[in-house]
Symmetry: none
Subunit: 528 residues, 2 copies
Amino acid sequence: MENRNVSIFDSTLRDGAQGQGISFSLEDKLKIVKVLDDIGVSYIEAGNPGSNPKDMEFFKRIKDIKLKKAKIAAFGSTRRPGTDPAQDKNLQNLLEADTEVTVIFGKSWDFQVADILRTSLEENLNMISDTIKYLVKNKKEVIFDAEHFFDGYKDNKDYALESIKRAKSAGANVIVLCDTNGGTLPSEIKEIVEDVIEKVGGNIGIHCHDDMGMAVASSIVAAQAGANHIQGTFIGIGERCGNANLSTIIPTLKLKLGYNTIEDKNISRLTSVARFIAEISNITLRDESPYVGSAAFAHKGGMHIDAICKAPKAYEHIAPELVGNNRRFLISEVSGKSTIFSQVKKIFPNISKESEDIQKITDRLKELEYEGYQFEGAEGTVELVMRKIVDKYKPFFKLNHFKAFAEQPSSAGEFSSSVMINITVDGKEEMSAAEGNGPVNALDKALRKALEVFYPQLNDVRLVDYKVRVLDSESATSSKVRVLIESTDGVQNWSTVGVSRDIIQASWIALVDSIEYKLIKDSEKTKF
Amino acid sequence: MENRNVSIFDSTLRDGAQGQGISFSLEDKLKIVKVLDDIGVSYIEAGNPGSNPKDMEFFKRIKDIKLKKAKIAAFGSTRRPGTDPAQDKNLQNLLEADTEVTVIFGKSWDFQVADILRTSLEENLNMISDTIKYLVKNKKEVIFDAEHFFDGYKDNKDYALESIKRAKSAGANVIVLCDTNGGTLPSEIKEIVEDVIEKVGGNIGIHCHDDMGMAVASSIVAAQAGANHIQGTFIGIGERCGNANLSTIIPTLKLKLGYNTIEDKNISRLTSVARFIAEISNITLRDESPYVGSAAFAHKGGMHIDAICKAPKAYEHIAPELVGNNRRFLISEVSGKSTIFSQVKKIFPNISKESEDIQKITDRLKELEYEGYQFEGAEGTVELVMRKIVDKYKPFFKLNHFKAFAEQPSSAGEFSSSVMINITVDGKEEMSAAEGNGPVNALDKALRKALEVFYPQLNDVRLVDYKVRVLDSESATSSKVRVLIESTDGVQNWSTVGVSRDIIQASWIALVDSIEYKLIKDSEKTKF
């Protein structure tokens, strides 16, 4: 493996914010900057002060925060055609942002200059060099983003190369080759990066988009070809199909090629940082995300699980701990007693493989599976099944009855469902009622309201995900329904599952498990 | 662009079923086979009859279905160490599955032979050749999956090559190089595939996993290096991080490299097929999916939208229509009128493109989409929207009110829901009540009971499919729900869709559309 340094440039807050449904508050942005700096990213591109007035406020605030390593970058375009940089409002905004680094994007594709910018090819080159010279004179480190470089190179190679030569001689520290439309093949990226390094030299960067699902591969190929600066977004968010995913690129560069990016000791924080950024971005991190997703080291086939128990490298390309992730065995119809034993051992370390509880748990899980339960991604329910058998735990409350109503047209105006519920805790009866969006939402509200009287900590619990699967959909509305619920108390997330012919009852089962799980975890803590 | 043929091998139903949370019913499997065959996939790997008894039932059923092009493949392992193929239960199951093609996986990595299989290196080679010879003798086309080929090649090149040479000389038609753990870099894939083609020749396939986010790139690189068979799953589902995504690979091979895979005319169906398979798999197709996702051609930045209006290639690597997708501007939606016109023309052949009804329909569908409707696989509802605007049709009944109840414990014994409903048809009021498995089943029964008094033909109608999708699952039980219903009258099937914050109301909307659709079709017939 080669010992090389590649600097990581994160654009979650600028290019990432172009993603569908993404919108960061000022506080979100500050949180993301802190965590990216903390793991050792080299550059953080945080906004475009010329086009977005909200960004200027961020640049004011960030100056009060002491960062360990990362340089903050502001992003903007070259001066307008036929103007003087000192008179260009956008460039004045960039100076006002007062960052150590300024990223300037300019056109490298002759078609873009003629048809989109609508100026002469020569004037575009002057815009690039005038702008960079002006910023360098104002003490900025300048990174030049050569927009559409690869499309430009393929259409008019000489012009594309000239655009970046001008940027370099004007004083740009890094020349970033952008595959702006995401349509360049990795094989082309390799060839073109090699040619650029030969002809232009210096610090060459790469900026890829995922329109062909190859942004990660193209970034890696560019690094192998000699690029020493990679732009992307930490979890891959960005316009259209997203940007190159840094949480995939960083471990691949380190663990497969030996290239240095962030500090080695922080590689094991990649999973938690990816999940944190997803949370702040208000998106669900895909379970299947390479390295950092919850399914990245999840094994389902019984044959694979057996092999993993013999030797993990049988079906894992790296040890999950290296990136701070965990191995998971999905309990499915194909999993056997040894999978279940290894799961029970995590909760009850002293249990023996021969314990008859193991057999009881295996039988119970199989019975539930036969009824339509599926335990993948429902670890909360699995743990309760185990605890009920090993620990002989008793429920925290007893349902006396609930009643659900819905009507159309609704007397409440908008269609709504309502629920009343009656429970007993330690001999004390409590009754409550709630209205909600649908019977399940109403049931959830009513149950919590009644239980909070006895267990105030349930006030912190909320549902974060709710999935419904109609089983054997061919028998349509009378078939069984499986409901999967994910809950959080702000610290930990857990998932539970319920199955019934009736969606209300299936949801009830999953809700009860969710609450029992939280209460059992809390009572465990007070034991010690 | 080079004119080459690459055959596409889809394993959604076998390797895809290993994905977290994926579980296909028999009917789901048959639907997926039909659509994959219809667009021209070469091979469909449908299950492992030896390890899963449910799969055998599928292989029986599929024989009654006439396919256009696709060959169905059953998957299984080589014979066990020290046994005779004719005595091997797994191989007998493979023969019993009675498919045209059998896929046999065997070990190419010496470490796997020694540590996982725990047999001698020579016996493993015999297992490969004996098994393939036996199947060829039994008239099977055999595809050999060389498991862990790349890891094996890197550890012990001679042994890995020997394993596939044996498979080839035993009669395997295609040798598939598998990156089973997903840890091989595209640069290594290129080099190794080139070496294999030089040393072994013949039909070489590639099978990649996405553990480094590069399964698509590695598959493309392998094809460029000479592989002429690509294995993957249509929307990328599979164990851990998933398999190579065929809906990304197929258009890249055709549109960027000119390689032939499925029929050219079906490239424009990729988006709808990907969405259909996601729907059947009960997963949400990522908006950011290359080519086929809803955000793949969505533009947010104002500057980008301006440029796209000047020239689409400014920020699109291909025209979205090529893959059946649409351009979307996330700020102001502009699209689709001509698609809608061609749909309306099917029902009203005399309508002109300039008719203001076309604009009204476009606006109405966009409004509904904004509310969370999705019309893929809901043609019944789309047709009703069109008829309501063009034909000024009036509803067949009027709802006065319905009321739904559920209680636990239930006075009826088992948990059940009940509904009472009151409707008016031609000035006559009718009231009915029904109990059912869940509120939707009860609602369906009660509504039909009331309507059959007036429209006895509804007696033939029944629901054959019912799917529930929670939209924006992050807001959990209070988020919107989309219900998709498929109905049949024994002659024709049709699908309708409803969206609401309340599952009962969403189901009601879809149920009403289903009945209106049936009644409108019947009244059309009597017109002529």
